[in-house]
């Protein structure tokens, strides 16, 4: 009696083992096939390339929040950024703020009047040494080697929000609820997000891939310049060479790629 029970148990054990090994072996087999094909966005003939994309914002060309509106609108529209009423749930990729918020610790006691009232455009800095990438426990955010864009995989993100704590620029937003009902007009060319994942500016990687400049740059009437930081002939380098520029919280060593002409 006892030995037959033992035999049946053994049989169960072996079959359970057999059942579990198959998917494991399958997983290994699949891994083998996909190596070398991990392209996120296909590179076309027209796609723009750089070692490190960078942006120069000529803040002198913005007088009021209204001047920023078209840029923010363009960005949020094509990226399906929802308009949430509750401030706690707010999602923003690109927004305007005051000098002393964009550059805390850099504001003098008495500031030039123009600078005091001028809106400053802020966004993900696509840092060369990004602390958010260091923090992510699943590689759901990473620095793309090809062009330095700090990327985000909405499907891998577990929503731990470590990256939000790590970002010293408050550039990241979290989907505290399903954002889809709050998207005015869905752009079918860009994914919408689900609740529980983090998102942020992607330097319009999807537009660069097809030879277009980032949306905000395109509608900025020349106030924003975009190009390769490591190409001495690029427009951004030309501007950095000929103007005094500052970056946000440079002291932290994250090497932001967004430069400001004040």
């Amino acid at each position: 009696m006892d030995s037959s029970r033992r035999r049946i148990l053994r049989l169960f054990g072996i079959s359970a083992l057999a059942l579990t090994t198959r998917p494991v072996l399958n997983a290994f087999a699949k891994e083998e096939q996909t190596t070398g094909a991990e392209v996120v966005i296909k590179e076309g003939a027209k796609s723009l390339k750089a070692r490190q994309w960078a942006m120069v914002i000529d803040t002198r060309k913005f007088e009021s929040e209204a001047d920023l509106e078209p840029l923010i609108e363009a960005c949020h529209k094509i990226h399906n950024v929802p308009a949430l009423q509750n401030k706690n749930h707010e999602i923003k990729w690109l927004w305007g703020t005051h000098y002393h918020n964009a550059f805390p610790g850099k504001a003098a006691r008495f500031l030039a009047e123009k600078v005091e009232h001028r809106p400053f455009l802020v966004l993900c800095n696509h840092c060369e040494n990004p602390p958010c990438v260091r923090a992510c426990p699943t590689k759901a955010t990473w620095k793309r080697e090809a062009d330095g864009i700090v990327f985000m995989d909405f499907h891998r993100c577990i929503g731990c929000r470590f990256c939000m704590a790590a970002c010293p620029f408050g550039a990241r937003s979290f989907n505290y609820r399903d954002p889809r009902p709050f998207i005015k007009e869905t752009n079918n060319k860009f994914p919408t997000r689900m609740k529980g994942v983090v998102e942020k500016c992607n330097f319009c990687a999807e537009r660069l891939a097809v030879g277009q400049l980032p949306a905000c740059v395109e509608v900025s009437n020349g106030a924003l310049a975009f190009g390769d930081l490591y190409d001495p002939a690029s427009e951004v380098r030309e501007l950095i060479r000929t103007h005094y520029t500052i970056r946000r919280k440079q002291i932290l060593g994250t090497e932001p790629s967004v430069y400001y002409i004040v």
């Binding site: 505290y176 529980g196 919280k249």
Partner: protein, 385 residues
């Protein structure tokens, strides 16, 4: 041995049912959170971690605090603690369970939790925290269970357990160190950016953990035939006294550095917590209460006559547990996020559902703790008779 947890009186079952009610309420609220998203909490774009992560942090401390009975017994051969090491280990098990649950309820996409193992990322502190916490849980289950079973059978525990026991001691330190590293390595968060964050966490852990253990010992003595012992309780009380003193000392070190250097980035968070910033003062009464409670705790545990009075000692332990909980479970996380990186103050107040879920997790932990302590105490009663 598990069957021992099922044999209990009316009071035992009443207490367990009471806890289960809270677990149930918490679970229902969690279902709501799963459905709606973390938007049912008070969290925001600026304060992206709150009550869950704060309680997680505090409980990592309680878990690590268990080592304060294991270390003197195994490393210093302090025989008296032999009687209570099992309580420390079981306290660690239930605390780590609460920690892991708090992490789980804090995730935006909990079903993707295994991505942490599918895409192991050694540069992320969270990856290491997962490893050390689960490791500590497994270590304590193996050690606690086997040692207790050996005791029940009247034999010496297995030889192979010894290295694991030794390993569990530095491992306890590691869980709270790694948890502190979650915060103190983040650029631009002045409140956490201090090398003594890990030591500070450990000192509050070694106060809160043993304080809870003393309270448990006093309760066990009252409700069972097993007496953890007066000497044991007094030795634990001395540990609590030292730890709470060191904890307050570390805090004052932080205050000195921030306010003598007068660097706004470091001062503003402490200001926000203790006097308010830009008119936002929700945390001020709590933080002062925490500080005063810890000071009362010091007075009551340091003075020999009050420490030796077990009634007063019980009060001291409650006071210390509450004080350290407010400090870590309330102020530590919200204070680090306020003001925000853009120097804005968006005050974070935990929402009712959020508090309900947190209470559910605590109730779950105490359910497990009670069951485990019931087993341990039953074995002790058995072997004595």
């Amino acid at each position: 041995m598990l069957e021992l947890a099922l044999k209990g009186g009316k009071k035992y079952y009443g207490w367990m049912t009471f806890l289960m009610v809270f677990v149930g309420i918490g679970f229902l609220l969690y279902l709501k959170q799963l459905d709606f998203g973390l938007g049912i909490t008070g969290l925001s774009r600026d304060t992206s971690w709150g009550f869950y992560i704060a309680n997680f942090t505090f409980l990592v401390g309680v878990a690590a605090g268990g080592v304060m009975v294991v270390l003197p017994y195994y490393l210093h051969d302090y025989k008296a603690f032999g009687k209570v090491t099992i309580l420390g280990e079981f306290l660690a098990i239930s605390s780590v369970l609460m920690c892991v649950t708090f992490i789980l309820v804090d995730l935006g996409q909990p079903t993707r939790i295994f991505n942490v193992f599918l895409y192991p990322t050694p540069n992320s502190v969270l990856f290491w925290d997962t490893i050390v916490l689960n490791g500590y849980l497994i270590l304590n289950i193996i050690i606690g269970w086997n040692v207790l079973e050996a005791e029940r059978n009247g034999v010496h525990y297995q030889k192979w357990l010894k290295p694991l026991i030794y390993l569990s001691i530095p491992w306890a330190i590691s869980i709270h160190t790694v948890t502190a590293y979650l915060y103190c390595g983040l650029p631009g968060r002045g409140f956490w950016m201090t090398a003594i964050l890990a030591p500070r966490f450990l000192s509050s852990a070694f106060a809160a953990g043993p304080a809870l253990l003393i309270l448990c010992c006093l309760i066990i003595r009252r409700v069972s035939n097993f007496d953890p012992g007066r000497e044991q309780i007094q030795s634990l009380a001395k540990i609590v006294a030292y730890a709470i003193c060191v904890n307050v000392f570390f805090f004052l070190c932080e205050v000195f550095v921030a306010f003598y250097s007068q660097i706004p980035e470091h001062m503003d968070h402490i200001k926000y917590l203790f006097v308010g910033l830009h008119g936002h003062t929700a945390y001020v009464p709590w933080m002062w209460a925490s500080f005063i409670l810890m000071i009362i705790g010091i007075i009551l545990t340091v003075i020999p006559t009050s420490r030796k009075n077990e009634g007063v000692l019980a009060v001291a332990c409650v006071v210390i547990f509450l004080g350290t909980w407010i400090d870590k479970g309330l102020g530590m996380i919200a204070g680090g996020f306020t003001p925000s990186p853009l120097h804005e103050v968006n005050e974070y107040i935990p929402s009712l559902p959020e508090i309900g879920i947190a209470l559910g997790v605590w109730a779950m932990g105490f359910f497990v703790l009670t069951a485990l302590f019931k087993i341990a105490v039953s074995v002790k009663e058995e072997t004595r008779s």
